[in-house]
């Protein structure tokens, strides 16, 4: 792993990007990995564009500033790709992970994306099938693990299960469906 990996989530209020960014940090933390995750709110409104961020590092993280040159951008609503600020600062060898019905090649052509690596996943549909809700952010975590190789699927699932058990102590029924969703996303994410 490089010293610090920076991830920027682009979503709309209510899609769960804040929760997902925080959950990712919680699942990756420990054993020499330092994490930071934070949202950037405008007004807290459902449907309004919002961003959240993850830093994953082999050294303690002291920075308290937004991420301007991410290694990865995760897009939960493909319509956000029409806004040029979405791509802003993404590294030349960076990764774009999009929740869409389309494949990476179509996304590249449709939004005129040059360079970078594009991955797609129909995360909304997967979430709809497993959670009965369009919480696209959940499967995107599984896809992210695949495309970045941050952890093996087994290790990731082991850690995130512990986090889910803590978070959903009052709703244990959602844990298994979440875990199944991560696995499906890990398998189904498509690259070019």
């Amino acid at each position: 792993m490089q010293e610090m990996l920076e991830i920027r989530w682009h979503a709309r209020g209510g899609q769960g990007a804040k929760t997902a960014a925080l959950l990712l940090a919680e699942a990756l933390m420990g054993e020499g990995t330092y994490v930071q995750a934070f949202p950037e709110y405008g007004p807290e409104r459902m449907g309004a564009p919002m961003r959240s961020y993850d830093r994953i590092s082999s050294k303690p993280i002291r920075l308290h500033t937004s991420i301007k040159t991410p290694d990865v951008i995760i897009i939960l609503d493909p319509s956000l790709l029409t806004d040029p600020s979405t791509m802003e600062g993404l590294k030349e060898d960076g990764i774009i992970l999009v929740n869409t019905v389309e494949d990476p090649k179509t996304v590249r052509e449709k939004y005129h994306i040059k360079g970078r690596k594009i991955y797609t996943l129909n995360a909304s549909q997967l979430a709809q099938e497993e959670l009965k809700r369009d919480l696209a952010s959940v499967p995107m975590l599984g896809a992210l693990i695949k495309v970045t190789g941050l952890r093996s699927l087994e290790v990731f699932l082991h850690h995130i299960r512990k986090e889910l058990e803590r978070k959903f102590a009052h709703r244990p029924e959602v844990i298994e469906s979440n875990l199944k969703l991560y696995k499906r996303a890990y398998m189904e994410v498509k690259g070019e």
Binding site: K18, A25, V35, Q36, F38, P60, I61, L63, H64
Partner: protein, 395 residues
């Protein structure tokens, strides 16, 4: 489930504060929700609902009532805590002075947020800076770890010096950001904070007292003098508690933190989350050959006069960062106090003030580096042309 060992946890600043409160297990918490503090009290309320603490949680109808309930509880002898932000702190205003004037050891997290108008929910220091004369001890936190550590220490400090303590954390940047926090075993915290001991308790009916009596020209000034003395002599207790805390946690807490300061010629002085960003900026500047350093103010009330004098005495140029506009027309509140404390020195550094990060405006490494580049020019020129500046504002 009791926590038996030190544990690394990924927590937001709000969760770190709530977790510290859970381990402190205060007798009474009275609070009213306000962004960005809401999550803190929501997390703590869940602990109450789950029976993990013995706290009497008083849901009130405003922050004025919250602090009033805290005053009553603390006067009754209860270990009392609360939390607020921004307009909420503003609404507590008159009661803040009552808490400190009655010498009640209330501990409050302040999730720092800008004050309206214009309306804004994001992090800056206007709220607590406005309360700097209210007689509360103020501890400032750079990250979620310091929120947790400061809050535990605050209980001891408050109860030893009989002054209320506010623990500050930057709204959203710290309150809503997840970071790695090392938490202590439950028993260690329990033993560290101990039981509250008070010479006077309103509910001790065998030893009745009057609290809040009218105090006019013949006594008020003596009581204020005695309150001022508590603030004047609080620092040794704060440092002693910091030392003891280091013993259980292994983390060092002083009135100020020096980062690469010893051999620095140019220094930035700041509070809160910006200090972390400044440390990274300083490392980069050192690579460029610029002798940059940071003076982080952890204890703002009481003001660490001697520590600041000795830290900045031999420096060439100092930039004081204010995340609050004092509206004095001549710079921010931190700047004036730092500059005043340098007055007695024979070799005073050149000083400049930057108002920055208002209403949550992002502060990048580049912004801090720009301040240091300005300090390079100031040091070269040997004078400051305009000492009251804005950082990162559109002209």
């Amino acid at each position: 489930m009791a926590q038996k060992t030190k544990e690394l946890m990924a927590l937001t600043g709000n969760e770190a504060a709530a977790y510290a409160m859970k381990q402190i297990n205060p007798d009474v918490v009275a609070a009213y929700p306000i962004t960005p503090q809401t999550e803190l009290m929501q997390t703590f309320a869940q602990y109450v609902a789950d029976g993990l603490v013995d706290t009497e949680l008083v849901a009130v109808e405003s922050e004025h009532s919250a602090m009033s309930a805290c005053v009553g509880a603390a006067a009754g002898g209860a270990r009392t805590m609360t939390a607020t932000s921004s307009q909420g702190l503003a609404l507590m205003w008159e009661v803040l002075y009552i808490a400190s004037g009655l010498r009640l050891p209330i501990v409050m997290s302040v999730v720092n947020r800008a004050l309206s108008a214009p309306i804004n929910i994001h992090g800056d220091h206007s709220d607590s800076m406005g309360a700097r004369d209210s007689g509360w001890i103020q501890l400032w936190s750079e990250n979620a770890q310091e929120v947790y550590d400061n809050l535990i220490q605050a209980v001891r400090i408050a109860e030893e010096v009989f002054l209320p303590v506010m623990v500050n954390l930057d709204g959203f940047i710290i309150s809503h950001g997840v970071e790695v926090v090392e938490t202590l075993p439950d028993d260690t915290v329990k033993e560290f904070v101990g039981e509250r001991k008070s010479p006077y308790r309103l509910l001790d009916i065998d030893h009745p007292i009057t609290v809040g009596a009218l105090d006019l020209q013949d006594y008020y000034m003596e009581h204020k003098r005695s309150q001022a003395e508590a603030m004047r002599t609080a620092m040794p207790t704060i440092l002693k508690v910091g030392k003891e805390f280091e013993g259980i946690a292994g983390r060092n807490y002083e009135a100020v933190e020096n980062y690469r300061l010893e051999d620095a010629e140019l220094v930035v002085v700041a509070l809160g989350s910006t200090c972390g960003t400044a440390k990274d900026a300083i490392d980069e500047l050192r690579e460029e050959g610029i002798e940059a350093g940071l003076l982080k103010i952890r204890v703002f009330r009481p003001f660490p006069w001697e520590e600041i004098k000795s830290a900045l005495g031999s420096k060439k140029a100092v930039a004081v960062m204010d995340r609050a506009e004092g509206m004095s027309a001549v710079g921010g509140p931190l700047f004036h106090e730092i500059r005043s404390c340098l007055y007695d020195l024979t070799n005073r550094p050149l000083t400049v003030n930057y108002i920055y990060g208002l209403g949550g405006r992002d502060v990048a490494i580049e912004d801090i580096k720009k301040v240091f580049y300005d300090l390079v020019s100031i040091a070269k020129l040997g004078k400051v042309e305009d000492f009251y500046r804005y950082l990162g504002v559109r002209e």
